[in-house]
Amino acid sequence: MSAATAETGDVAGAQSGSAVMTYREALRLALREEMARDERVFLMGEEVGVFDGSYKVSAGLLEEFGPDRVRDTPISEEGFVGAGVGAAMLGERPVVEIMTINFLLVAMDQVVNHAAKIGAMFGGEVRCPMVIRTPNGAGNQLTAQHSQSFEGWFAHTPGLKVVAPATPADAKGLLKAAIRDDDPVLVIENLPIYKEKGEVPLDPDFVTPIGLANVAREGSDLTIVSHSFATVRALHVAEKLKQEQGLDVEVVDLRSLRPLDVETVAASVAKTNRVVCVEEGWPTYGVTAEIAARIQKACFDDLDAPVERVGMAEVPLPYAKNLELAAMPNEDRIAAAVLATLA
């Protein structure tokens, strides 16, 4: 079946099989299924309703579920993220959309100092089962204030769970798992990835478990560890290196950042003995720093070379296209890092 019909939604009822659809459509399907499944689930955020969503993830949902369950908010991230926290404390299942992760900076306090604290700080007497969905990433000349990736900051925070799907199937599976989870979960989407296509299971009970990485491609020469859009880049690089140089690069897609599936990463490194970690954001004090720190300890005797890291050049991302391209963790830079690590 086609993405087009997935878009129109005829698939929501289907019990099995799969369909090719975009990452965006897969997220929408997950929202529709979970809203249909559980009255407590509702969506709120800027432009999620009348505007059909800034990036159209929620297109059609207002019409289908009405204004109580698809709530356009004022521009007040701190206010409505906190509204999600409070509603969740009463057992509701808010799904809060933050237009891009850059805007979570004005709501950090509600996420880190409120949502994340509730379970432990009140001795387990009350929980906060909420989801915050937001895209990270860069690449469309959105410039310094709009091109960032802060997921590592949330993954640093005990009390939060953080997932970052790289495929349409996991976009559906992890968003559904997050909505069904009883803790605050950040679902990190990504701007360039929304249009990526892939097979997505139509079974409404399909979920991707939180805390389980995925070996997205098998290989024996080197492991690339990545998440979100970096995994898409990594798979292209792996394919290219196979074609051009006959290299077998394994790609481990983390999928979850907290919890982090180090076991799967370590098993891969034990096999390949060389690893390159890739992220969309700045590596220094970033996600790949933790991955490298874990690997060097878990795989100390397995490593034939230092763990290498590739990410965005560490500057506030400039507007000019040539500068932006140079700064991104593009496929050439990833390939070069792989070759350098194999040298």
Binding site: R40, F42, D68, R71, T73, P74, S76, E78, G79, F80, V81, G82, A83, G84, V85, G86, A87, A88, M89, L90, G91, E92, P94, D109, Q110, N113, H114, G119, A120, M121, F122, G123, G124, E125, V126, R127, P129, P158, G159, K161, D181, D182, D183, P209, G211, L212, S256, P259, L260, D261, V262, E263, T264, A266, A293, R294, I295, Q296, K297, A298
Partner: protein, 348 residues
Amino acid sequence: MAIEIDTLRDLYEQMVLIRVFETESERQYKAARIGGYCHLSSGQEAATVGVVHALEADDLLVTGYRCHGFALARGVDPDAVMAELFGRRDGCSHGRGGSMHLLDVSRGFYGGWGIVAGQLPVATGLALGLVRQGKPQAVLCELGDGAINMGAWHESLNLAAVWDLPVVFMVVNNGFGMGTAVDRASAIEELYKRADSYGIRGERIDGDDIEASYGAAAELLAEARDQRRPSVLEVMTYRYRGHSVADAGLAYRTKDDVARHMEHDPLLRVRALLRDAGISETELDEVDARADARVAGAVAAADASPLPDVDGLAAGMYAAGSDVQFERMMPGSPFGEEELVFAGGLGT
């Protein structure tokens, strides 16, 4: 609004309980059996008890960190409150929250929060939850005069008004945010007038008058329940002690200022009302004695309560069933993390 005499005697008893409890808390803090920040509400009893009395059983309450009095007025067991201050297992937050983070869902008390104005968005969300669940109740959200200058105030009030949420924002104007007088922090001194920016009702009352406190709160809470309109209730009162037990409270005001306010102490005012209504001094002294005994009992109970179990360091951090999600995170983890955090389980 006049309060029936037996009720007023009960409210007086609550007020005395709070005063005695706070005085004892300070003593215990200085004896190093209570730690962290400890914010007392002595002097604010009429505002606290009067407004909380206007809550119905199923209404919800959210406050800042100065929450001992609110918890007690809401009927949280004094033993559990003192045990929390002692950091014991039987504390209302099982020793995890301490003075600033009291909570008792069974009493509709959703905390005790420590970030100034951070509780406002949460309260707005609780009101949203009530509406989504078709419940008739309302939320009372306490904040201070200093908190009103935080952005969270503005976003929460606007959202509550745009969405017609049943929440009454109780601004406890005790004259200071730490050492900063209201007129040095806020561009207008009549804080309740900020309600106009959201097209909602704002009232200011003498918070040391328990009948005024109760009456105004009852009216605004009824409006919130019946018409789903948020509102602002500014209660004028005064904080006798320092900002927290660590603050002598005299860098920004004089002993005389405090003494002047103590002259019309809210407890004495209620006591006078009761005497005028024919309650005898001896009966009132009995009330005071009961409060003393209740607090002494709370200290004893707290003392008898065991320390939290160190194996349960991470208890409650995540929901039951989360352990399996974290199972694969152990390799290469920081020193001692597995034993300290995961061995005891997350979801218990």
